[in-house]
Symmetry: C2
Amino acid sequence: MIKNMTEDQITLYIIKALKENKHKEFTTILEELQPYDIAQIYNDLPEKHKARFLLYINIDLLVDLIQELDQPEQLDVLNKLGLEKSNKVLDLMDNDDLASLLDELSPEKIKALLAGMKKEESKIVQNMMNYPPETAGRIMTNRFVWIRHNYTVREAVDKLKTFAEFASSLNYLYVIDENRKLVGVVSYRDLLLAEPNDVIRNIMYERVISVSVTTDQEEVARTTEKYDFLAIPVVNEDHVLMGIVTVDDIIDVVIKEANEDIEKLSASGKSIDFDTKSFVAAARRLPWLILLLFIGLISGSIISRYEATLEKVVALAFFMPMIAGMTGNTGTQSLAVIVRGLVSNDINKKVISRVIVRELGVGVMIGAICGTLISMIAYIWQGNLVLGLVVGSSLLLTLIIGTLAGTIIPLILYRFNIDPAVASGPLITTLNDIFSLITYFGIATMFLNYLI
Amino acid sequence: MIKNMTEDQITLYIIKALKENKHKEFTTILEELQPYDIAQIYNDLPEKHKARFLLYINIDLLVDLIQELDQPEQLDVLNKLGLEKSNKVLDLMDNDDLASLLDELSPEKIKALLAGMKKEESKIVQNMMNYPPETAGRIMTNRFVWIRHNYTVREAVDKLKTFAEFASSLNYLYVIDENRKLVGVVSYRDLLLAEPNDVIRNIMYERVISVSVTTDQEEVARTTEKYDFLAIPVVNEDHVLMGIVTVDDIIDVVIKEANEDIEKLSASGKSIDFDTKSFVAAARRLPWLILLLFIGLISGSIISRYEATLEKVVALAFFMPMIAGMTGNTGTQSLAVIVRGLVSNDINKKVISRVIVRELGVGVMIGAICGTLISMIAYIWQGNLVLGLVVGSSLLLTLIIGTLAGTIIPLILYRFNIDPAVASGPLITTLNDIFSLITYFGIATMFLNYLI
């Protein structure tokens, strides 16, 4: 019925059903909707209708709904539901979604939320919360079907059917031995093509790709993406199967990590989106800006050391922004290449030294071309050949230095296990300001007698 | 056997098998490996062993292998295989992989490659190549199982079993009517839980989320991610089902689009990775740098217009890099927030005006704080209260201007359907250099009599 309606029309229709107490119509509409759509509609609903919405919606859809919301709305819904119903919802939630709901809450709040849950469910989540943030252990789910290696194909298919509703993914079955260790994987296709009496051990694929509970989520995403998997099994240090990470969570990780790289490269501060308040956004950005302000003052003090030079040849100031800017730009370019390259490459000494040599080559080439160009421009503009040569040779040198700084600084940070993206664009730019001013005024002072 | 071996050990083992003509051992090892691993090993193989590797590997694994390689290696393999075998491989390849192999090749080369293929296979790919690049039509596959709405559940399951090997994804079956229009979707779970004689029409889910063949791939990725789908159906303008896009391709799109944003934000040039040659990387980066060099010269000419001011108060030069740098930094921060926000938000006038007001607020707040700070520092350092006030009020103004420039410029570009990320960080930085110098020297000149 609602097949061809827009989201706004559906929302109005639902409000009407709520107002007129048409419980059955409400349920009929909701069952035609995706969880994401239900969440959108719930968010758009006027506050006064939300309570009845939550009263009318059945428990399964309620779980779907809450899993689609952001943390503040999740807590608000749980609050609205009251203790008994919210405990039921928490019991039914996927444990990875529950873990991310609890993420960043205070220990007291977590305890309060878990208190009313079933013991076995709350224990699983508490165990997950013990893994470091952003690891496989925090984003895995236990909603998957495992089978024993001594099952027959028939037994495996029966188990699969029994748990069809429960399992997140039906494309693979993970095989464990008597100690719950992961020993193989069977695709659904393998099961279809095998004989009912074949033993799983004999048809399973043994070289299972898995990740550890403590593997960084970025690494988990990279592995899943490389192999085009729909899910990847997660094991503990004894190779016991603990859970699986599904591809929808992998996509979220990929998006989140890319956003983090961009945030850091632009020093734009942690998680600022369109809905962040001015005050919060300003507070998140200020620390970087104040640090960069002080670094910028270092540039100033360098210039002040060359005050005498500058007083004699004020024209030197004309080229300052260009030289500093160009050095900053080339550094940012190198930085971006390195930061993204570190994500998608296997890193070893050979790769590192090759990329440094490559960037050195780039620096020399662009330095030579831009340096020559600016020499001519400066000579024509100011009618001073020496000035042209000073500006040009400075630019050559600073572009090489800038390129290397943008390459080597993130690599050093990476070497010391610091996220190279913290060497944000603005930081590299500001550092390169300093390098370029020292070079420029150094060369200018050397040739001062010829400049005047 | 090779379960616990490292990739290097496996490679050595394979080389040994190739050298000693052990065809059977070679096959045994390969069947234990994932396509990605086979491709890695093939890439690592010394050139002299590659021909025999391609001779020994069976056609199905060969197809898997070639789908994992990058385009230059794919063409190299096809070349090595000879005409007959390479036609077989092309026939068996997933059509989305084949389309991306053909991407950016010359029309003659494409014609030559398709010439030996089966008519029906080559026609599908040629049709795909007619869709604009980066749309759903270019990344969809036709390897999926569809069913008619008048099938019974039993018929659907039978068809599913028949095509199990062929289908990319087994989690959903897409339902079409007599005109091949997409009318519903049935999950595998629905099939398991329904009675064998139920008619699909009665158990299917009708509000199918689909995308059009011409939908931008970024939009396809966003929809799939929102709904946590493993695949999304693609329809033409008559709502006829044309193919599906699977989640592994969605992940590739997400990664590619994030990398593109970062490339553009840092003006680092199109697709430079660790393997790009110096010469190529320099050529790709130079256009931006030369443009920025000329824009940088505009800054210079602005300073030259204020030469008289600068000659009288050389200390003004000390604060130039700090003011220009800070303005550039705040602009980059805003830019990054906007570029990523445009990806993940539904954009309308309300959202736009709210985010502009928000950024204005941010600019005022950080301007007031940083301006006050620098006023005091400048006063203490140079012992000149007026200088302190000039520098501070300039910074206040330029930070507001810089923040707004970083916000409004990408929004204007977006309005005119230009990718806002082309307003790269360096471009915003360089423009903000100009704004900040005009403001700074303008204010300084106004108060020149008090400054000296």
